[in-house]
Amino acid sequence: MTVDRPITEDDLQAHIDGALDPKREAAVERYLAEHPDVARRIETQAGQRAALRAAFAPIAEEPLPPSLNLDRLIAARRRPAVPTWRAAAAAVILLAAGGTSGWLLRDTLATPESGVTALAREAADSYAVFAVDRSRPVEIRAEATDQLVRWISNRLNRSIAVPDLSASGYRFMGGRLVPTPHGPAGMLMYDDDRGTRLVMLVRPMEAEQDAPMAPSRNGDIAGYTWAQGGLGYSLVGPAAPDVLHPLADAARRQISGAI
């Protein structure tokens, strides 16, 4: 007879879940035969596992409510996201207001934000969606930075560079391409040892091709945004402005050196 590794609590739990390979399973069964106290406890727990499954099984048998009909959810996504009533209402107001006062509404109807203000908001939006994602924050990880840079550069039609913020304690995690109202943008993500994540968004600028660095704030997310040679950059994160500002300066320095 071979000498088994000592049986652990993990083995006993895996035995309950039927997750052991046959050899280990046999060892656990031998052990349980010799230890009736443990066997009783494990048997009770196995019985409760079965009872839990039985108690919740009927929920998965219920017919799905219409709100969870996948075809409908997919179809709903294909409809325009912007509520058309808003545009219609605006048109009605314009018509009613006539030519003289209608121009007052011009700004609200045209693109509401542009330039670095818009970019700062888009960066905060990307942060809100991706930085909180624990399982898949980035599409391409830092190990494949070349591939990421190629991808983003191709889609933006501009060559981009990835600033190195490691001197300030922020490691490059990777990035992805993200959509914005002004076309595709490259998103780069960094984190520090405490797991604080920063997002940098880069995209071509139509308005404000060159703009000095400006602070921004969207909720808890602070940011610094600037434009240089037709490309806009926005570094955002849940850090204090005096932490973020030198990081943005460092990024800008490196970018102007690299491109």
Binding site: I16, A19, Q45, A60, E62, L64, L70, R136
Partner: protein, 170 residues
């Protein structure tokens, strides 16, 4: 998007089951699953082709449930609606057993409850559960063991105490 139906469709009933077991509220649970599916559809292209769709969807759902439970907790004590979620077991004895089981489950912490449901009811592997909960596999193992211990103690406590109390009264 044609593979969505094939990959996601069969997972909707288990997602509903997990959401309801966590929230103990049918309408809130279904809202949560709808939210989860909408997110999944909008992020479908970001899903790793080689990754498991099930793990991915359970991760989205679990995180939504956590946020939701935190909001509820902030608003004040939760009123248990456990009886509403029972789907009418065949006989009264079963119904009582189910109620005891759900009550016992209620006494567990959220961490213990979710690990138990994912492993015991949803049949996720320990590695998949670790991904969904964003914790190491070793932590999953020790939580499963602790959770089962607590559940057994809670179940042991309830009816047994009642019986011995009755006997003493006699």
């Amino acid at each position: 998007m044609d593979d969505i139906g094939i990959l996601v469709g069969p997972l909707i009933p288990p997602l509903r089951r997990y959401a309801r077991a966590l929230l103990r509220d049918r309408a809130a649970a279904d809202d949560l699953v709808q939210d989860c599916l909408e997110r999944a559809l909008s992020r479908w292209h970001q899903r790793r082709a080689e990754g498991s769709t099930r793990t991915w969807l359970f991760t989205i759902l679990h995180n939504l449930a956590l946020n939701r439970m935190r909001t509820i907790a902030r608003r004040g004590p939760h009123v248990a609606v456990e009886d509403a979620m029972l789907v009418g077991p065949a006989n009264q004895e079963d119904a009582l057993r189910h109620r005891d089981l759900l009550r016992a489950l209620e006494t567990l912490t959220e961490e213990h409850r979710s690990v138990l449901l994912l492993v015991s009811v949803e049949d996720l592997s320990y590695a998949e559960t670790a991904k969904v909960l964003d914790i190491p596999v070793g932590t999953v193992m020790s939580r499963v063991s602790r959770a089962r211990e607590r559940l057994a103690a809670a179940l042991d406590g309830q009816p047994a105490m009642r019986e011995s109390h009755l006997r003493r009264v006699k």
